[in-house]
């Protein structure tokens, strides 16, 4: 259903209580906030900061800035080498375990260095130099 609220900027307000979003309508007759008394399909849009999306398809891109895509290969290798080391220990092959562990650490180190180097750079696409431009009266 469509909305009948003419001026939401002055008639509506929101606030947060724990994990819940409170939505109130200003009442002309009472000081107590009231809930809105109509159903509105897609009646509100919340703008929020959220965690990156999970990717499950091969054709998708990881949901993070592309400077971090290549380092992700290093961290995957580090984790897989670490898993291999654990398996080698379980099989009683200590030499292989030590080698896998060392390789895992190498990849983890490369990953950490890349993240440290790239993480401090301004990579957001919304950047750019700001300047105050006075209004022209011409």
């Amino acid at each position: 259903m469509a909305s009948t609220v003419i001026n939401p900027e002055s008639d509506m307000a929101w606030w947060l209580v724990g994990d819940e979003l409170g939505l109130l309508k200003v009442s002309a007759t009472s000081d107590v906030p009231d809930a809105i008394n109509e159903n509105v399909t897609d009646g509100m849009i919340i703008h929020y900061e959220g965690e990156p999306e999970e990717r499950t398809e091969p054709e998708e891109y990881p949901d993070i800035d592309n400077v971090f895509h290549a380092p992700l290969v290093e961290v995957v290798l580090a984790k897989l080498y670490s898993n291999e080391a654990k398996d080698s220990v379980r099989r009683g092959n200590i030499e292989a375990a030590q080698m896998n562990r060392a390789l895992g650490k190498d990849h983890q180190k490369i990953y950490d260095e890349k993240v440290k180097r790239l993480g401090v750079k301004k990579t957001d696409k919304t950047g750019g130099m700001r300047a105050i431009r006075p209004l022209s009266f011409r």
């Binding site: 939505l23 809930a35 809105i36 109509e38 900061e49 990156p52 800035d65 971090f68 993240v115």
Partner: protein, 104 residues
């Protein structure tokens, strides 16, 4: 200019070293690490979500347990007006905003 990599390309590069690595395992590690990176570097995503407004309902549950939105911080709410435009509505510090507006 960094080269963007698809999940498949990451998987292919991993398979050069671990030919038996499954896509699901690689994707799980990548997804976990992407969330970890976003939290560590403060690179959370700005997102929007449309919600239905229900008559008589004042509180809308946004917890991670009951929604799959993964909300960390809400910074703005827009409400649909009578001419189908979304207008930003003010945030009240607590639920007593009604009194403030009436006095203004």
């Amino acid at each position: 200019m960094a080269r963007p990599l698809k999940m498949k390309q990451i998987w292919d590069e991993v398979r050069d070293v671990f030919p038996d690595a499954g896509f699901k395992e690689v994707a799980r590690i990548v997804n976990n690490e992407v969330i970890d990176l976003a939290v560590r570097l403060g690179k959370m995503r700005m997102k929007t979500h449309k919600m239905n407004v229900i008559s008589g309902k004042m509180f809308y549950d946004l917890s991670d347990a009951n929604t799959n939105l993964g909300i960390n911080k809400i910074y703005r709410v827009d409400f649909l007006n009578s001419v189908d435009k979304y207008i930003m509505i003010p945030r009240a510090v607590d639920g007593k905003a009604a009194r403030i507006y009436k006095e203004v």
